[in-house]
């Protein structure tokens, strides 16, 4: 095992930018916004050295438009933003879903709504990441909980975008973005870099062919195949259709290619789950507190465990059901008023559930989590 780098302190945002370059990003288009700006600044400095191009666009709509354009001609493309900018990007996230153009968007979440609290953390864009763009679609969203994981998961975000030809959103929060911690990644921890599946058969190219893999093969626009890309609902050849059977096939394909591949896409970590009777489900920086809460609870003789979701979308309902159903209690702390909690509550059916809201624009104290678990167990006569 060779060490890639000496241990050093690194910020989450920088790890994200480094991950993007490692993944092979050659185009970045962005617009400055706290707390994500360090990503753009790093890309501006490093992308030219890595053979890529950085553009500061006129706004976030232009940013996402430009990265989709660059991806259409075959480049791995990336942007980074926060709340207000993420709102502006929504229409074109749907474009990338519809036209199946891989892009990666880092949204370093800050507290909202509106301008909100630009420098303070939140996880208030979780539902926006899922449903922010109009129309039925699926989406992939990842929420890393450490600096190192941000690096690794950014690489994976590009891999997933390429593999499934879809936008991937990295949902960091301000705490993860600005956290500085040890960053020690060995070469064998770095995921293999994936490119979207290409075909060389220009003459017979069917750009949106329905195949069992559900993901059409790619020829970059401008490489001899001369085809059409549109955000209109299209047939296999890429042209507008309103024929009901074609429309239905198309919509199901872009949905199913993600929803039916959860096993491949979804990642999570189990902590103290073997004999757990109480489960905390968490993600992002809050999962750091949740880990400590589990240890606290164990010290008080409560058999607690943690499911830490790394992939938020598609939502891993099977996992949540299997691991949580029938437990004494499931607690979900979130830095919002209960967003992913809705999904968890739905998945675990009639298992006792409590959504612990964090609206203070700050991390949730492990003690608050542990105390809540104990008081809820007492209420239920479980301790």
């Amino acid at each position: 095992m060779t060490k890639a780098k000496k241990p050093k302190l690194l910020q989450g945002n920088i790890a994200c930018a480094m991950g993007a370059i490692k993944a092979g990003a050659t185009f970045f288009g962005g617009y400055p916004i706290t707390p994500s700006t360090e990503i753009a600044e790093y890309m501006a400095a490093q992308l030219p050295k890595a053979g890529g191009r950085f553009m500061q666009m006129e706004d976030e709509i232009a940013s996402i438009g430009a990265i989709i354009g660059a991806s259409c001609v075959g480049h791995k493309s990336f942007t980074a933003t926060s709340g207000p900018g993420f709102s502006l990007m929504q229409e074109l996230i749907g474009y990338a879903c519809n036209a199946e153009i891989p892009i990666v968007i880092a949204n370093v979440m800050r507290s909202g709504p509106s301008t909100g609290l630009p420098t303070l953390p939140a996880a208030q864009d979780v539902m926006q990441a899922r449903w922010g763009t109009h129309g039925d679609h699926s989406i992939i969203a990842i929420s890393p909980y450490s600096v190192k994981e941000t690096y690794i998961q950014t690489i994976k975000a590009f891999n997933l975008a390429e593999k499934y030809r879809t936008p991937v959103i990295i949902l960091m929060d301000e705490k993860i973005g600005h956290l500085r911690e040890g960053f020690d990644v060995s070469d064998d921890e770095i995921p293999e870099i994936i490119q979207r599946k290409r075909t060389l058969d220009k003459e017979n190219y069917i750009p949106y062919e329905n195949t069992p893999s559900m993901v059409p093969e790619f020829i970059p626009l401008g490489c001899g195949a001369r085809y059409h890309i549109t955000g209109l609902t299209h047939n296999e050849k890429g042209f507008y259709t309103q024929k009901s059977d074609e429309v239905e096939k198309f919509l199901f394909r872009i949905y199913d290619k993600i929803e039916k591949n959860k096993e491949d896409i979804c990642e999570y970590e189990m902590f103290e789950m073997d004999d757990a009777e109480v489960v905390i489900v968490s993600y992002g920086s809050v999962a750091r507190s949740a880990k400590e809460a589990v240890s606290k609870l164990r010290a008080s003789n409560v058999k607690a465990g943690l499911i830490r979701l790394i992939t938020l979308w598609p939502f891993n309902d099977t996992l949540i059901y299997e691991k949580c159903h029938g437990k004494k209690l499931v607690l979900m702390p979130e830095m919002n008023l209960g967003q992913l909690s809705l999904e968890v509550e739905r998945a675990i059916k009639d298992t006792p559930f409590y959504s612990l809201h964090g609206a203070k624009a700050d991390l949730i104290d492990p003690k608050v989590m542990a105390d809540k678990v104990i008081s809820l167990l007492k209420e239920r006569g479980e301790v």
């Binding site: 030219p48 191009r53 438009g65 074109l92 001369r226 549109t230």
Partner: protein
């Protein structure tokens, strides 16, 4: 002549346009311009927004990218910066370019990126059925200006000039061959070039504004257009209500992708030191 540029079409007609619409004439002019330029079809990228005019990309046999309303230039900028070898054209409606996409438009002008932009100005939002656009003249009627439009309109030539475009021309669909020439010249120009193609929308504009039909609108263009060199010898009163056509501006400045290359060379040099 017809068959000479047939090769630039995908053979998926009929098109969606109303009878007498100017969009087809601009599309024909564009195909002829490519013929004049003798570009390899594989190297041509045509990007459009959303609107009647933007449907052109569906019919042309190039690499075509039909984007979102107003965003064609954002997509095209990313594609061009990533792959500067592509001869990149953007085709947009007046609403697309000057309303919802106005910000992208002025910034593309400012960057001087080597994209040839054709704005099909039919003075109206055609696709949505005739609402006024930033190019609808004051006083004209639209479905959202039933008592006459009170908004002032843009002048695309002045707007482009102010924003920094380095080639600016205006043509019209009555002078279709002249329009081809202007498009070809714009493509030959290195930098951001704008061609305003004054067009006709008999259905969503003409009907609300006392035009008798498609032919009447084209005749209007025939009567109202005047070449720049002639116009420059006329006094302002005589030019009242005229549509001046020609090449308004051409200048040289560093092209955006060239600037990238320069930057990259200096970064590499710095790294070697």
């Amino acid at each position: 002549m017809q068959t000479a540029y047939k090769k630039y079409f995908r053979d998926n007609l009929p098109h969606i346009w109303c009878p007498g619409c100017g969009n087809g004439i601009v599309m024909g002019a564009f195909a002829r311009a490519i013929e004049m330029l003798d570009y390899d079809k594989d190297e041509v990228l045509v990007v459009s927004g959303i609107g009647c005019s933007s449907r052109i990309t569906g019919y042309l046999d190039f690499n075509t990218l039909h984007t979102a309303h107003g965003r064609a230039l954002a997509f095209a900028t990313g594609a061009k910066v990533a792959e500067p070898r592509l001869k990149t054209f953007v085709i947009m409606g007046d609403g697309d370019a000057a309303a919802i996409g106005g910000n992208h438009f002025i910034h593309a002008c400012r960057r001087n990126i080597d994209i040839t932009t054709i704005i099909i100005n039919n003075n109206i939002y055609g696709m949505t059925g005739g609402q006024f656009s930033p190019l609808t003249p004051k006083g004209r009627k639209a479905t959202t200006a039933p008592y006459g439009n009170i908004d002032r309109s843009f002048d695309i030539v002045d707007l482009s000039k102010g924003a920094g475009a380095t080639y600016i021309a205006r043509g019209d669909v009555f002078h279709a061959f002249r329009l081809s020439y202007l498009i070809a010249e714009a493509a030959r120009h290195k930098g951001f070039s704008v061609v305003e193609a004054v067009s006709t929308c008999p259905i969503s504009y003409g009907r609300h504004n006392k035009f008798k039909g498609a032919a009447d609108m084209v005749n209007y263009l025939k009567k109202r257009t005047i070449a720049l060199n002639r116009a420059s010898r006329m006094n302002p009163e005589a030019l009242e209500g005229k549509i001046i056509t020609g090449i308004f501006y051409e200048s040289e400045d560093e092209e955006y992708c060239d600037a990238f290359e320069r930057l990259e060379a200096s970064v590499k040099k710095g790294a070697r030191k």
